[in-house]
């Protein structure tokens, strides 16, 4: 049950991770896409204005030094207001190309007045003209060099925060580059916060699932434990009465002679004895077991050779392909019980031939029991569940033998599977 709980926590955590990854990727992807769209909107306006951001202002060139001198045609009104910096001439008309977000966004007047950008035009015969320049991080020469490097593109990001557009206007190729660092900074901040928040959420969800898992599986673990205890008690409660019935029936037969009734009692008691022994074999896994070095090759060879006469009696051919000197750490009696069950299963259900193999590859041991069968092709892993029998089940089959095999394999941290292919049932055990 502990393994089931850990699986639950693992898969829940993976689901949360997947959902978070998808969600945050989509959110951040949309965020960056919208930033790119806003930047493209601005470069499109510049393109429509033949390389300038503001209508009516043909020359927005600023000297490439820190002091920003206002143009000669600065208005008196502007000076009276004490407005410093690059002041627009009186013929300036604020951009009115569609203010989508009102005060915010790429269409706002403040955005246009403060956007760092440059436009360089490349004409024939390698003519270069800096049409507009309003950058602080680059000088004109650097701007021209950057623009030249972007000629082969059309639009995109460059230098991480610059958005550019390449377009043709009156036989000249224009490259406009705008600096979106101010707009991108919140996007990156959101990305970082998403990543950190996502990690914190994952940790919190792990803790939460751990406690939920404990609470959820506690009733199942208790039910499992009660079932084990019940089977153990049941097994004990059956064994003594069965032994008593045997003894009393025998005493009856000695005193009064054997009758049909006493023969019938004996037969039924034998049936119940078999069931109780198989139930008992399953319940031993509730107790801690001591593991010792088991000579698996030797054990398997011994048991199979000992049972060869039984196979011959049932007209079954038995083939062994056992690699010698294979050992593993396990409970000796359980391993012998498992092999015994596989032998018994093969004897019951094989049509004409049985093959047992034991091989080792590095630290993995593979044991297979294969026999011809009348069953259809497919996976038959359900035969390892308790009380499950197939259509070709032998009379008196309890459906517990292979459940025991699975418990032994689980105890060794192994895997077991059963499948039919081309008329052969193959039980594969990996230890």
């Amino acid at each position: 049950m502990d393994k089931a709980r850990k699986k639950f926590v693992l898969f829940s955590e993976l689901s949360v991770l997947l959902l978070l990854t998808v969600l945050l990727t989509v959110i951040n992807g949309i965020n960056f896409a919208m930033a790119a769209e806003d930047a493209d909107h601005l470069t499109e306006q510049i393109m429509k204005n033949h390389g300038y951001l503001n209508q009516g202002v043909m020359d927005e060139r600023l000297p490439p030094n820190d002091s920003q001198q206002p143009p000669d045609n600065a208005t008196d009104t502007a000076e009276a207001d004490g407005v410093k910096g690059a002041v627009m001439e009186s013929s300036y008309r604020p951009f009115n190309g569609g203010n989508r977000m009102g005060m915010m966004g790429s269409d706002s007047a403040e955005m246009h007045s403060s956007l760092p950008y440059f436009t360089v035009a490349f004409g024939k015969k390698d003519q270069v003209e800096t049409v507009a320049f309003r950058m602080t991080a680059l000088d004109e020469a650097q701007a021209v060099s950057l623009a030249r490097s972007l000629l082969s593109g059309s639009t995109g990001w460059t230098n991480i925060t610059y958005r550019y557009r390449v377009y043709t206007d009156q036989d000249r190729v224009y490259v406009t580059v705008i600096d979106q660092s101010r707009e991108l900074w919140p996007c990156y901040r959101i990305l970082i916060i998403s990543a950190i928040g996502g990690c914190i959420l994952l940790l919190l969800s792990l803790v939460l699932f751990h406690f939920i898992g404990k609470r959820m599986f506690r009733p199942l673990a208790e039910a499992d434990h009660r079932q084990e205890q019940f089977i153990k008690r049941l097994e004990g409660e059956f064994k003594t009465p069965l032994t008593i019935i045997n003894a009393e029936t025998e005493s009856l037969e000695i005193e009064n002679g054997s009758t049909v009734q006493t023969a019938s009692i004996n037969k039924q008691v034998k049936r119940m004895t078999r069931l109780v022994k198989e139930l008992g074999a399953l319940s031993v896994f509730a107790e801690p077991r001591r593991k010792t070095r088991v000579e698996l090759s030797e054990m398997m060879t011994a048991m199979l050779e000992n049972s060869r006469a039984d196979f011959t009696k049932k007209k079954l051919s038995l083939t062994l392909q056992i690699t010698p000197d294979i050992t593993l750490s396990a409970d000796n009696e359980n391993m012998a019980g498992m092999i015994g069950e596989l032998i018994s299963n093969a004897q019951k259900y094989a049509v004409s031939d049985v093959v047992f193999t034991l091989t080792q590859h590095r630290d993995r041991i593979r044991l297979t029991a294969s026999n011809d069968t009348t069953l259809k092709n497919g996976s038959y892993d359900q035969i390892f569940d308790r009380f499950v029998t197939l259509s070709n089940a032998a009379d008196g089959s309890t459906g517990l033998g292979l459940a025991y095999v699975r418990e032994v394999v689980r105890e060794c941290d192994g895997r077991v599977s059963a499948a039919v292919k081309d008329g052969r049932m193959q039980i594969e055990i990996d230890l």
Binding site: E235, G236, F238, K239, T240, P241, L242, T243, I244, N246, A247, E248, E250, S251, I254, E255, V269, T273, V276, K277, G280, V284, R290, T292, E295, E298, M299, T301, A302, M303, E305, N306, N332, E333, A336, G337, G340
Partner: protein
């Protein structure tokens, strides 16, 4: 034979009192560990049949007392015979798993009785077994199952791994503890044999 039968279930005691009496034995029944100790001190018995689920006193303590009095014992176990049971300092002379047929118990009683009477010593390679005292190399206790296994090995008789498995495992470990060079191994085309390692 005078048999002390100890089991927690009274119906079980009644049924086997009848069956063993019919077989010619004199049977005294008790249903807890304390009564076992009391009866052992009051009367001389030829055999003790002891159920592992007896209340009041643990089975190991009862076996210590029984072995101290050099009495043979048959231990009735609900769990099946396991090698760990046979490796304790005090063990029963024989083990029988529930449920069993009465004839199995009677056959085992006869076998133990024959062993005690024969006072035979079994020797093979560097192993010596006192079959009457159930001692291996005079140092370790052995059970009837292990003695039968050794006899089968000496007599080169076929051995069923499934039934004899716990005894094979227990004997090999005892031989290792006694620093003996003999071990029981399965040889292809030859079956289980005592080999020198």
């Amino acid at each position: 034979m005078d048999i002390l039968l100890a089991a927690p279930d009274r119906d079980f005691l009644d049924a086997f009192y009848r069956r063993l009496t019919l077989a010619g034995h004199t049977v005294t029944t008790v249903f807890d560990g304390t009564q076992v100790i009391v009866k052992l001190s009051e009367q001389r018995f030829g055999l003790v049949i002891l159920h592992t689920a007896l209340p009041r006193i643990p089975t190991e303590e009862l076996l210590t007392e029984i072995n101290h009095r050099r009495l043979p014992s048959i231990v009735l176990t609900e769990r099946g015979v396991r090698a760990e049971m046979l490796l304790r300092p005090h063990i029963g002379s024989a083990y029988l798993s529930l449920p069993f047929l009465p004839e199995e118990l009677l056959s085992l009683i006869d076998t133990l009785f024959q062993r005690i009477l024969s006072e035979r010593k079994l020797s093979c390679q560097d192993i010596e077994v006192d079959t009457a005292a159930f001692r291996l190399c005079d140092k370790m206790p052995v059970s009837e199952g292990e003695i039968s296994l050794l006899e089968a090995l000496v007599g080169r008789q076929p051995i069923d791994q499934k039934c004899a498995g716990p005894y094979i495992s227990a004997l090999n470990r005892k031989l290792e503890q006694l620093h003996k060079t003999s071990r029981i191994r399965y040889l292809i085309n030859d079956g289980f044999r005592l080999v020198t390692i």
